[in-house]
Chain length 170, copies 8
Amino acid sequence: MKQSIKKDKQPKTKQPIVAIIMGSKSDSETMMPAKETLESFGVNCEWKILSAHRTPDEALEFAATAHEKGIQVIIAAAGGAAHLAGVLAAKTSLPVIGVPIKSKSLNGLDSLLSMVQMPGGVPVATVAIDGATNAALLALRMLGLKYPDIMKRMNSYREEMRKKVLESNQ
Amino acid sequence: MKQSIKKDKQPKTKQPIVAIIMGSKSDSETMMPAKETLESFGVNCEWKILSAHRTPDEALEFAATAHEKGIQVIIAAAGGAAHLAGVLAAKTSLPVIGVPIKSKSLNGLDSLLSMVQMPGGVPVATVAIDGATNAALLALRMLGLKYPDIMKRMNSYREEMRKKVLESNQ
Amino acid sequence: MKQSIKKDKQPKTKQPIVAIIMGSKSDSETMMPAKETLESFGVNCEWKILSAHRTPDEALEFAATAHEKGIQVIIAAAGGAAHLAGVLAAKTSLPVIGVPIKSKSLNGLDSLLSMVQMPGGVPVATVAIDGATNAALLALRMLGLKYPDIMKRMNSYREEMRKKVLESNQ
Amino acid sequence: MKQSIKKDKQPKTKQPIVAIIMGSKSDSETMMPAKETLESFGVNCEWKILSAHRTPDEALEFAATAHEKGIQVIIAAAGGAAHLAGVLAAKTSLPVIGVPIKSKSLNGLDSLLSMVQMPGGVPVATVAIDGATNAALLALRMLGLKYPDIMKRMNSYREEMRKKVLESNQ
Amino acid sequence: MKQSIKKDKQPKTKQPIVAIIMGSKSDSETMMPAKETLESFGVNCEWKILSAHRTPDEALEFAATAHEKGIQVIIAAAGGAAHLAGVLAAKTSLPVIGVPIKSKSLNGLDSLLSMVQMPGGVPVATVAIDGATNAALLALRMLGLKYPDIMKRMNSYREEMRKKVLESNQ
Amino acid sequence: MKQSIKKDKQPKTKQPIVAIIMGSKSDSETMMPAKETLESFGVNCEWKILSAHRTPDEALEFAATAHEKGIQVIIAAAGGAAHLAGVLAAKTSLPVIGVPIKSKSLNGLDSLLSMVQMPGGVPVATVAIDGATNAALLALRMLGLKYPDIMKRMNSYREEMRKKVLESNQ
Amino acid sequence: MKQSIKKDKQPKTKQPIVAIIMGSKSDSETMMPAKETLESFGVNCEWKILSAHRTPDEALEFAATAHEKGIQVIIAAAGGAAHLAGVLAAKTSLPVIGVPIKSKSLNGLDSLLSMVQMPGGVPVATVAIDGATNAALLALRMLGLKYPDIMKRMNSYREEMRKKVLESNQ
Amino acid sequence: MKQSIKKDKQPKTKQPIVAIIMGSKSDSETMMPAKETLESFGVNCEWKILSAHRTPDEALEFAATAHEKGIQVIIAAAGGAAHLAGVLAAKTSLPVIGVPIKSKSLNGLDSLLSMVQMPGGVPVATVAIDGATNAALLALRMLGLKYPDIMKRMNSYREEMRKKVLESNQ
């Protein structure tokens, strides 16, 4: 096994292995840091608008075929009655990360509860409201289980954060 | 038109024209009053467990074909991250009524927000937490638009409620 | 029956068959998309300010006579202690749709709970906070039970939403 | 003025001058302390079930004629989408006190917000969830403005409370 | 009794019979409509900044002597941990109306709960968050029990509101 | 200074230096662990029922004279509109610790916000809902600034907690 | 790479590759389904009580060395001010799954927000309140990225859930 | 002892005896009034950015050595999943004051609950959301137990607040 891992310490950069799915085009700006964070780790992503309510068939189809198309982690962002992440998770065995988008009236509390309170059987890995960066970092930690280089970079990333905080004291 | 309405003042009782869909078998007891209320108005219903997360394909298939099978209103009950009503509404043009089921930790606030805060385009007619009776009454009010006998009975139903309250004062 | 439905596949456009009732003139802007959505489906609406607290008699009178004046669905919008929809529903057997208006202090949570948590007997079909468009779409789904053309247009509407989302990916 | 007040230092005990209106018979037990508190001050009350939703006409009629029948303060108790107090206040110039009843799912937060968040123009004097005793005490404080004996008793009541607390330390 | 009431149908306008107490000078703008509403009914008010936390002695002293100085109703406005109304109510038998001021972080939910959830024995008549106008109207309804002219004006006030709403439809 | 501290490394055990004040006798059971925790550190406490609403004068008097009577920290427990801690803090320069008591309807959220959201100028050191033990531990940490023996015992207390957790793994 | 994966399609069953860390022994019963779910997939886990507050050093030390000891995913359960998951995530690059435990007063809303609202840089994959089973299923989905057998079993697991729901309709 | 206290009625001004620790540089502006308040009492503070998540080791190390470096009270400010105060309190026997910072989506309710709902054993003295001034005043009240001059100044501070409020009425 060690041998094979050497050959495959990081994903081939061209093929997207993370998908970022948003329920609405208006979520793009909020989710851009997720894309940028993934790319800063050398991980490409598929970037797609798909809605559990406006394109239910395409959303389910996407989830059902994501694995065979090379996707390893799905990040799903939606606001209000945020069903996207749960519906995707229902059609795949890949880990699905949910980003509750801050909503206009209830500030994202609705989005958060709609995502995190999943019934037993189908989990959604929920991060903070508008937590695009953390969604990407969580995807990378999952990928780090398989690609040692990603885990190494995550170690460096944490170290850099630490230094940055300490420097801010000077 | 008046002529035809005379012939069809109420639905033929054998065929179910309302579907009650529950996300989990444990919702049955809470939803039974919906079935009983419909039947007390002479309306039969289809009674089914279907989950947006455990049986996504069957749930969508059900919604997509409900109209052609004679269903006119769908009542969907679910708790927690309650996606069922929204997902069904995405695949039909029939009105979908959502019943947020009281959840174990957050008392149904999660279920309520997951149902009612639907994004523009796909409405869910949400009633109170555990509001099974009202879900049925709402379905009957909708059917009353088409079947004059149901509207008449609703008038009587409201009158009976009134009398019952007034009698409770004696 | 089929024959009559052919003759009456859609409502005669002049007569309003949906009423949009607002608790305050300040709700007008929020509710305008409801009117526009109805009209885009060829459905005219009555547009009225009536308050459960400032014009209780007129509000009740409106609900009591709405059906005989040709109204088939009532949309009621109000904020804060939003009693309008419930009070109207008490005086009619027509379906009443409630739109909780976002309030100044509590962002519409008060409006939502005041509408959706109706006691058994008198249902209000509640949509999202400020959900004017969905209120209209819900009214249209109800009308679609009776007018096949409206249901057909709803099918197209859903298909157009789908296409629009898919196109946003190009 | 003083002279007249001497003659009328307290209400004639037979005639009810406070009305306790409940939205549902199930609120009776919760509201009983209101009745008992009023009676312990020598004030009789009218005790009535009237619902904003099940008996809207009777509720409005009651409020509209309460003053001429001798009622001086109305206490209204309701749970969930608690519209009763607001609707009564819309039809009278008497002060209306609202008691939000603890609800099954949301513990009375819905009842509280439905009562207290009244729009400008029609106030409801809201007390705590299930606060029947305080509703009566508030009514008595209002009556104390007119009947000096009631205010005297309120002074004694407060003094007794004080003593009781101090004694509990011994 | 009737005779005396004739002589005293409204309060002598110079002497303030309502006190508006605010916890902080920053509440002044929010509370101004209370003053204006009272004055539009010919009722003068005492306008004072007193804090339960910064001037506890003066606050208690004010409440303890308010009645003998001619005050008949106290309106108390405060935000956050809003103790003012409760503390004043503890030291007087007059009715105390609480206005929860919208707070910076929690939008007044804290102010509301701090006011309305009073323990048995000491009631605060709570109105909506920032509900200055309604606080005044509630005070006037209380005074209307004693001064028939105020009740008459309240009847007119309600009638004017009604007309204004109806006119807004033209 | 060191010398003097040697002489006075811990308080003389007979005299109470912490006061536990409860708004209601029903809070006693919840607060007993505070007393026990203090005593297990060799610190005696005064145990008293005093209410901001039922005994406002005695409550203020207590706070105003607490320091001169030897009290160094005040723990105040109350539920609902929990004004006790804030009102005590207004009349003393001693640190006041607030324990929000779990309330019947809102589970202590009202108590918590009523205590913690104090306006600038008068702080209340709020601990968790029903957090009697932590209130005592917080008082002891404050006393530890002055009495080295108490801080030493706190070090041991933390070490014992640590061991207990680690042992629970065996 | 394919070759190596063949050899290592599932983890060697003896060595624990998932750690279940609980903040308190009282969380054990709630978390047992996580252990059982993992074991039903042939995955062993380390089961440990460690507290962010009572054993901070041991908690950090555990996280810092988890990876080198063979742990691949950490599940952390805690209630109230639930800091455990966040603190562990700060000291490892492994994915950390947080299970908010239902708390006594606030039903787990405090636990949920304390876990999910992590600041940018350190993600916690939060599941539902008391969502032990889903925490395990999420861990398994992550492991499925690396161990094809686990993903296969997850596919079967989802298929079995589906069948069970469908059978419940017969 | 009295003698020694005379010599040491206030802390030597150069050495910081209070530490203000913030989880993020962006909290600086909110926390500045804490620093200013302390300094206005002649108390210097250490001002530091340290994060429970980005610099866990440094944060724990700081808490563990704070006492021996002369710090007597720690003020910790953080937002969202605000673990900083709890984690610091775990590693010291000094009193730790928590300031929940208003967060972007949930307005600080998450920060508040993450701080105040600490489990038994490790208390955090929580003040209001963004309550920097009160955090400092609370620290000063604690220090006042030891340094009589600080308590005297606190008495004056309270008296000045009082005067300022009373003057605002002129």
